[in-house]
Amino acid sequence: MNKTLTINLAGLVFNIEEGAYQLLKDYLAAIKNQFKDEEGCDEIVADIEARLAELLKAKTHAGKQVLVDEDIHDAINVMGKPSDFEENTSEEKQGSSASHNQKNNNYTNKRRRVFRDGDNKVLGGVCSGIASHFDIDPLWIRLIVVVLSFAFGWGVLLYIILWVIIPEAKTTAEKLEMRGDPIDINTISQTIKEEAEQLKNRAQNFGNGVKVEFNSQRSRSVANKISNLLYTIFHGIFKVISKIFGALFVLFGTLFFVMLLLVLFNVGTVDGLSINEFLQAFTGSEFPMFWFKTGLAMCVGIPLCMIVYKGLKLVLGIRTSYRWLNLSAGILWFVGLTICLYLSMTILRDFSEETPLKTQIATHFNNADTLFIKGNNNYQKNETDLDFTFDNDRWLINNTVQPSVWEGRPRVKIIASENDSVSVFMRKTAAGKQKTEASVRAKNINYNAAQQGSVLLLDNYFSFVSTDKYRNQSAEVLIKLPKNKVVFLDNSLRSSWYDIDNVNGIGDAEMSGKYWKMTENGLTCLSCTEEDLKKSEDDDTEHIININDSNAQVHINKHGIEVHSKDANVKISADGIKVDEKKK
């Protein structure tokens, strides 16, 4: 009992035994090789195929439907061996045998394709295949792979990818192509003898290929040659470009893939915190991290693998494509995407509602006294503490001394009061699935403000326990000052001043360590040095000259108009307009 294949040879259908098929296939490959330099090679081969089909057709009848080795041998005997054709042309090419040989070599090099060498393998024959492609000892390639394996396991990854995408050299023709040997009847019969037992068929639509070639012959005319030439040129350019793109695909694909692996296997840090710890700040410990990572691996890893795969295919010129591979990759990707989206949604839902918790701090400040706003140093940041910026200036700090507690920096804002007293408001905010959950989280935020004589003591940091997870927690202090109230902003809250308007246009942090007076126009600096003001000079600061001010003077004389105030001098004369800012 023997396995049979169905082939299409020159438009006729044949049932053929496996061995006979191999024989026929190799014979046709040898013929093709024989005429490769000849103009009209395809045509000759198509003609010969048509004749073979005719001969083989005569071998079949109702009683005998399957072609066996014998039939192929008979047909080949009638047709003759390619080496018999050779002598026909050798006379014409006399004296040029050397150059012919050279041509031959070039040709076989061009025809070389990468296959895995199954006869010479340690694992999958990838290294030996590549080695024989480049005509070097497989030992070197293996060495490179081993060395790469020690570097983050790159070698292993690369090997597996190559194993998948490079087809194994199974037929004799493929083995010869791999080695770059010329495909002719001699080399083929030699190889067949060596491993006649091992030959297996790759079920390719070989017959279809023949038919396409055959049909295309009909429409080919001399005029087509020009378009063929153009095709060859553009094909060449396209090939080079596709190789460049392929190389880029491989490069960036692997780069991002390695980054993905680092995330998945918790290698590396985000601002000093391991990736898992960082993620847990959002997800909490009950989150199915394993599933999330599996989903992530699928929905990000698969496209990256496919990019590397397509890139390698472009670079190595491999055309075989596996439908099952694309299909299963697509399905897995979709599954991964679903998992990721679902789990991300459960987290994102926790951010859907935000509840501010507003309270007023009971204070009673004497309006005549200067108000000092200070931090109480409730938490001193360690060198080893890690901090992350989330929302511009909102900070989250992982306290190394007490890792179960997260710290954050509050925002302190000063505005003018509508009435005559100092009032202090506090606002804690957190997010949650529902308003109730959000307000529970907001309550859990630990932040205090208290009056101590003429000093308003504020916590430097707010804190919450890590089981609450990061849900946009924040604490804000709003201080309302009546007119003419003088306030001192202490350096201890340097980083917490948040968007405080002032007439001098000085940045928030720079406002620290200075006395300020609440005027009609906003906070005005009382103790700023010239240097401080210079810093803000570039800004579009507005100087308002108050004519009611006792220090202001307006001179109108024959030279023009001059206005003097404590902030600036303005002179309008024949020379033009001159503005001088006064520095204190």
């Binding site: 020159a10 438009g11 006729l12 013929i31 005429f35 000849e38 103009e39 009209g40 045509e43 000759i44 003609d47 010969i48 048509a50 004749r51 089909a53 005719e54 057709k57 005997n77 009638v78 047709m79 003759g80 061996k81 390619p82 018999d84 054709f85 002598e87 026909n88 042309t89 006379e91 045998s97 055959f214 009909r218």
Partner: protein
Amino acid sequence: MKQTINTENTQSQMRKGVLELCTLSVLAIGEAYPTEIIEQLKSSKMMIVEGTLYPLLTRLKNANYLTYRWEESTSGPPRKYYKLTPEGEALLKELENTWDEMVDAVNKLLKENKNK
């Protein structure tokens, strides 16, 4: 290169040399498809292996000595029916002349030497 001389090889070389002439001569009678040409060449013991004919036909066609048309066949793949072009006819005449001259010359030479 190799080229060990053996009788069989020399004989086949001789046949191949005149194959072109014979093919043209077969087609001079009228259109024919390769199998018909092969049959005729075989019957006159001119054929070595069939494979030699196809490249020859293609070469002659590409050199404008032959043209062909397709014809569907009931018993197999479509056939190419070849026909001589005017250039082909001219080539045939020329080759025939050369052949006659050569045969005369060779016969003469052989006869002379035999008689010696």
